[in-house]
Symmetry: D2
């Protein structure tokens, strides 16, 4: 069960970077929703390599095929299987990795866990694995649009290394974000960020940063009260992405510097809707959405693969050194944006169906 997520809308991803391909099986999708390969391809294209000059040049069209669960353009209610073949695989680039552990990669830990690994391109630990997630999320969006129309999920690059963007989560638009190849929400930060990434790549170095995300229009009442709190599930979803090191919701780590008097979000009535004046809760209280914008941030470390020689050990346990090869992003954040959105859609969709199971969907507005 290494590779399944969700309770009512459940996805199982599979596949390695080099091999037959990658994919996903979606179980529990409501029937009778329109779904085409184009719907899925559109999201895959946002995450695919080679899409701009600042991402990895691996040339993968990542063309998807829906193998089951859709008939005459409608979801059947039965499992939807989606396949993306690997095309531009170059296992030869990785031969040295067969016998050496790349620093800060999963090579050593896979060996420690399983006693073997597919060393070609990182195998299952490759970011290619997220293709299945993004494909499934395209389906999850269909469910959200149908059952809770008006939910808007947006993510953007809010910081690269020390270069911070200025973005208002309440008003930023998808158009702004998608209009630049960094996928930041701050037009003024675009060029500096591109320069920063190119400079790092030029040095064989890499950069990390923070992706911020917002869910606007989410109905109140989603999330479970104890373990499966909405923010806990979002935290897990984000921390399950490659290269993530941290998650915070609402006021986050900085909010802990405030006192309770300063931090609390006061309720007030706006017409017949319960609102809060501030949103340090980040749209979630007691693990359950309160109808305000859900806001969270995810820390991505600098890409582990760098084009510089580094000390490491070999699989036969000798000290050695290794210089990165293969094709990699010097900064994963631009491509992480659609993936963060995808994970958000998956979590929300699952919780929407869970809420429908237990409470029905008319409940949300008390």
């Amino acid at each position: 069960m290494s590779s399944a997520l969700g309770t009512c809308f459940r996805i199982s991803t599979w596949g390695e970077s080099h091999g037959g391909g990658v994919g996903v099986v979606i179980d529990g999708c409501p029937p009778n929703l329109s779904l085409t390969e184009e719907d899925i391809q559109h999201e895959l294209d946002r995450r695919r390599p080679g899409q701009s000059e600042i991402v990895t040049p691996r040339n993968e069209a990542d063309a998807c095929e829906i193998l089951s669960g859709v008939f005459e353009g409608k979801t059947l209610g039965t499992p939807i299987a989606i396949l993306v073949r690997n095309k531009d695989a170059r296992p030869a680039s990785y031969e040295e990795m067969a016998v050496k552990y790349r620093p800060s990669h999963a090579d050593y830990t896979y060996d420690a866990k399983y006693g073997l690994r597919n060393w070609q391109g990182g195998g299952r630990s490759s970011a290619r694995e997220t293709i299945g997630r993004v494909a499934a999320a395209a389906v999850a969006r269909k469910v959200l649009d149908h059952l809770a129309p008006g939910i808007e999920i947006l993510a953007w690059v809010s910081r690269i290394q020390n270069l911070e963007a200025t973005v208002d989560p309440e008003t930023v638009t998808g158009e702004t974000i998608e209009s630049n190849i960094v996928r930041t929400g701050d037009p003024a930060a675009v060029e500096p960020m591109i320069d920063l990434i190119k400079a790092a790549r030029g040095e064989g170095n890499s950069l990390g940063g923070v992706v911020e995300a917002v869910v606007r229009g989410c109905p109140a009442g989603l999330g479970e009260p104890v373990f499966d709190k909405l923010d806990a599930e979002l935290a897990k979803a984000m921390m399950s992405l490659p290269a993530t090191k941290g998650f915070e919701v609402g006021s986050g780590f900085e909010g802990t510097r405030l006192t309770g008097v300063e931090h609390n979000d006061h309720f007030y009535m706006e017409g017949d809707k319960v609102r809060t004046h501030t949103n340090r809760s980040g749209g979630v209280q007691g693990g359950i959405s309160n109808g305000e914008a859900i806001i969270f941030r995810v820390a991505f470390k600098p890409t582990a693969t760098i084009m510089t020689a580094q000390p490491t050990v070999s699989t036969d346990h000798k000290d050695t050194e290794l210089k990165g090869r293969g094709r990699h992003d010097a900064c994963v954040l631009p491509r992480a944006v659609p993936i963060v959105e995808a994970m958000t859609a998956l979590v929300l969709c699952d919780h929407l169906l869970r809420q429908r199971a237990q409470c029905g969907l008319s409940q949300q507005t008390p």
Copy 2:
């Protein structure tokens, strides 16, 4: 399924702050382990109210009863049910909350989700719910001690508001932490922290901060490669605790300011053991433990209940105001320390059994 956690070592907690009691059912515990109520009580006493002058004065012995699953002092392998009765419940203190939503609490969202709530002491959203977790974790520790002896789990208060403790995760001891009522690992920070908490309480205000935790001696190989990454599961576990706003592992958010060249952990051989010179990974690579210390931090917001009048709305949707009553911690962090340790033990125990299921336990050292 609001209240179950774990795949192979699975716990189901239940109970409200005011009502028959709180408890937990543990399913999947290995048989033939010694277990007494004292083992559990010892951990419950570390989290119980009234234990020191800086925590809530609610007077609960939190005495536990093992109802099943143990026979002649040994676990049977069948479910272990543990019950703690509520004693010092004062529902009258909460009557005003029946008709008003406390700011930054779960009152409104429970109503939004379920259409009703137990308003006495927060019901299910009360921190009393964590009793079941702490009790279950005492059992999880028995499993860890038996199957992976040498694992040491420690948490401590690393910051209250802006007051930072200086603690070395590699060397801090449980004795140091438990020797002071704040449960910090820095003796020099004890008195300032106590003063800070008392001052906030004196003003009817509250404080938040950060709890840091370390797992030492964890074998390599625990954690699943995709969704159920060890750090993702820890993130969810911690974010499922009341009042948490953030989680980070290893280098965390600050690590994103480094470049890849600076950030990577280089491997080297220490005798026949694969080690890393630095530990920015925080003991987890690709979601799987690498044998280094697992280090993470959890952000706790300032307690929402403050003894100050605040604007809010009533359940019949009118603007009103509410002043906190009841007995509360002005700063939850000292009592959060054993709870963070408990959640860590639960996650590790589950993953240890999952690892045994799939790979056996001799696998960990490649």
Copy 3:
């Protein structure tokens, strides 16, 4: 995970025959349903020992306590914990069983699995474990009555040893069944069945037989198409009861003697409702309810505990002999009737919520 059942309406039972008690935690119950201890007690009284002259004389009131999840008479949506204390436990009656394996009981297999067992009254393998199921089912009925009013679940004794009752599943009433202590639906069979049971008991012997059940008024559309077929889930639920040896739905084993021409259920329109002329399908086609009566039968073996000396082996692996002691039913079927109904209610409730999650509840009538 030995002791949990259900996906959306999930129960976790716990407890041994002798020990603190037995109980259940129900997770996923819809909120705002009326629920009292009396609702549950009514069903527990139908299964409790000592209720008539043909069942075990163990004197247990089996009084239940709702510990959580209900507030002011309404379900909260959070876990409902129910506790029944053991009262008339007589562990001394079982001392010989501590060192000898009772034939056709679970003594040996528990030792083989866990390396130890609670030998007092069979511990977890005792039929007392079903208390938690029956209590949970009383809650499940509330859900069914609310979301799918008109579902009627009835079971009855259809055969004891070779003594067959004549009952029409389409018309039999609960009043008829409950009017006699055997719980058969055939008034003419009552006295012969009672005599048969008494005769067996008089000889220190025991009897088995068949319980038949019907669900009338079940909406079409419940059940999942592949593994979690409605009849597959009913089969598992019934085969998880102590002493069961077989399950069949609709035409069952005898139906395999018909040809396809004879066996098929032809559809026809009755007003605007799709019906079938015959019901060899037993109300389930392709794993999904079709709106006809769901009909199935469960085989219960003769009670393993008999008051006769039998060869067996000791725990130190020597041939020996053992004579049954303790208080037991010479025929479990009268008490099995409410338990079969309970398991049916649990399965239907879970599938109703699963259906609501995926398809909504307006879907059932195409």
Copy 4:
């Protein structure tokens, strides 16, 4: 979650009879086991259509492709995805079914559940869905052979309509069963059974019967004590197969005619092994294997598709009639044999890993 099975060895099947193909994702498979497409193909060939003169002539090679989870001939521990393309699909044969419900098929119930269906060849309800199960079971066998060598799983046709085979479950061999196209274990029954099937087919009619199965060499200790009893899980697994109407273990329905004195299995020592003189328990006591042969029987109804006109209704709810078309088995039992074996392997493998998780694997022999 319509299409997933297992806790530790978890499979997710997908696919419809006509469409991109069918397949399975296996999660939780132990690493480092040899696995090739030939291993899987061998089992698929046993279930494929067109293999003999008494099964459906649909011409499908059912060639499988392993898409992930295997590297250089070894399982990686990560999900194994297996794909089988549909080749000889003839949707035109089914056009009439688009607007009419086939009697005793899942056409109507799929519409009732989902509001639409893939009417080509039954879509998801087609027996082609079992390809994924059989493929996964080939992997499960590898796990069993590695962790519990000596387990032998055999199934055979024990009755077709009223024609009963005489087979001793303790001694029947796979060679005997596979030596005839009916897959019965009784050489004397082969020709009469073939004649019976051919006669039915000649009349456009169909037949059902019983498949019996045995597991020899299963260690004691597998199965969970309450809901996930080994026989309950086998019951569910078998009842999840298309066309099944009943399941019984050990003495089954007929055993209920015996008294307890006659029915009980007495223990005795055979060397240092605990054995039973008789095996009415069918190798499972209290839901847990006892080391004796596990014996069970599965009832398969006569194939619903017959080449005869039958009354039915149309999707627009008018009475009409329908004559079977398409290519079908007049008797599914010969092809059901490998599928029953497959489901048995899947259940045992999952329980073996569950047992390893909780108790370790040295526990089985007390």
